[in-house]
Assembly symmetry: C2
Homo-oligomer: 338 residues x 2
């Protein structure tokens, strides 16, 4: 089969690789129907996380089960499945508490931007659709592998409740999904912080009631202006930089919460000012497996369409172009079909 290898910063290649095989009796082999590039893939692509040797890359996928190991009982060949961006047993205490990303037996995939994938712990990891989904639902189902579940997690961690005012920092796919999640969870006001017109449009389509194009101090001032001077009830931080976190912490009201899901790069928490204002933070690696069944139901019912975050579709063989398009922000998110 062919799969994607990140050789070095900026150097992505679609290469011949050995076909994956069942290694453990709990494995499944999935033939991918669609995969994509994640904002977090851009960290090593941009050289902001070290790339010490060539490695397979990608962690989002939907596909058709080809084969299962002897101990797999809930998943069968032929099913259309969605996998969270990690494998988990879904039975340990952390999984049962809804934090599958902290599964006692969590596993990370060996590169999902490929034609075939070995999925460990298939029973705990994979969620199958009741029947083969319509083709136009594939993009939205694919987002449940990561970005939609991650945006949803930001909103859950922030504690979004009906009637609240939410501000969202970050207009990437996760931030946009955070807007959608906030609206779905009943926020009466959703302030999307974005300077890019196509992303502003999508934020509005996802339920944003206000757009703030300003950044830094001006952005904070604008959020305060929109909220009677007090700040948003909660803020979703969907970037992962120190600047974005400060923007979030400064835009939230006294007593408010920041839900954060951007992988932290240079983030520090200013303890004393958080203490003085009773501003809390909660977030982390999103347990998207928790949210997957409910969000899948919503997608299949066409109640939500998170797949709109994909504004470019390419053949998987053109994966290098997909990275380049996202790196230059020509595309919000690129869907790849093997």
């Amino acid at each position: 089969m062919y799969g994607t290898i990140l050789h070095a910063a900026g150097d992505v290649r679609f290469e011949h690789r050995p076909d994956p095989a069942i290694e453990q009796p709990t494995d499944a082999i999935v033939r991918l129907v669609a995969t994509c590039v994640c904002g977090s893939d851009l960290w090593p692509y941009r050289g902001l996380s070290p790339v010490t040797r060539p490695r397979p890359i990608g962690h989002e996928y939907v596909g058709i089960v080809e084969q299962v190991g002897d101990q797999v009982v809930g998943i069968t060949p032929g099913q259309f499945v969605i996998g969270p961006f990690f494998a988990c047993d879904n039975t340990c205490p952390n999984c049962r508490a809804g934090f599958q990303s902290a599964c006692d037996d969590v596993r990370w995939y060996d590169g999902c931007q490929s034609e075939l994938l070995r999925v460990p712990l298939a029973d705990g990891t994979l969620v199958a659709t009741p029947e083969l989904p319509a083709d136009d639902l594939i993009p939205s189902l694919l987002t449940l592998s990561d970005v939609m579940g991650t945006g949803w997690h930001a909103a859950v961690m922030a504690g979004v409740q009906p009637g609240m005012t939410v501000a969202v920092v970050g207009d990437g796919a996760v931030g946009l999904c955070g807007v959608l999640a906030s609206a779905q969870l009943g926020a009466s006001r959703v302030i999307a912080m974005s300077r890019h017109e196509p992303r502003q449009r999508l934020a509005t389509r996802f339920g944003a009631t206000d757009i703030v194009a300003e950044r830094d101090a001006a952005g904070v001032a604008r959020v305060r202006e929109l909220t009677d001077g007090v700040g948003a009830d909660v803020v979703l931080e969907c970037v992962g930089t120190g600047e974005a976190m400060l923007q979030a912490l400064s835009s939230v009201r006294a007593g408010g919460m920041v839900g954060y899901v951007g992988v932290p790069h240079g983030v520090e928490f200013p303890v004393r000012s958080m203490f003085d204002r009773n501003v809390g933070v909660r977030g982390g690696v999103a347990p998207v497996r928790q949210y997957l069944p409910d969000l899948m139901t919503d997608v299949l019912a066409r109640a939500i369409e998170p797949g709109l975050v994909f504004d470019l579709e390419l053949p998987l063989a053109q994966v290098a172009e997909a990275y380049a398009a996202m790196d230059s922000r020509r595309a919000i998110k690129v869907l790849l079909r093997p």
Copy 2:
């Protein structure tokens, strides 16, 4: 009148001071019935916060209203009142949201370890009992000025819910009140971390189901042992040191919350490990004014007895001995009567 002046680290004196007078039409003058020494008073007493010049000290009190300014409408002379450890208007957006410690017009007192006190913003700040309380209720009512409301806040910020397992770091008056709060909020298991037998006893009386005497890594291991290896659902951090915060963050389960109310001294949040485990933090200067009316009702109904944290009572004139007793941990908390 006489009041307490902190001259320098370790140097507390009870001295003649001018009687306070109404300065603004929203002021009240209160003749104190009881006051006390707070754990946070020990920071400057121990030289851990700088004392640059002699200053009045103390922020907890109950008393009888002597006089009110022209614009005070809800409080009248003769009433028995409890004040939170700060003055607030209780009408601004932050107050209405329940975060009175972030009141737009918050004021800090000029030393409550005294005979008379000027209370600014009397209508917003003071809470009067329906009638003069029985003398044996005075200690419990006094705790509502700070430590009981602060322990309660830790539990609220951590999100204590019925059935949860809570661990409490810190066996000072606030930590003990955090134990009481957790039990009142329905925690099914409350693990008090304490090495001191009298404090362990009081924790048990307040509702602790388990005592952990170990500290640091051994303390964390013991909490995990008690919780099937996963950690407590939430942890209350009631000290304010870096060690206590690390103890709290390490004792909580993946996806759990740390509610913190100890004034941070040398606390840093380890962003990456918090992110990896989805552990959140929320807390700050406790808006005890929010909790005061309900907790007062509970005290007057004798449903809770937080006043048990006072294990020494002295005449206010012996305030220096009160500091010494708390500094050496001979006393948990000292009540002072003018």
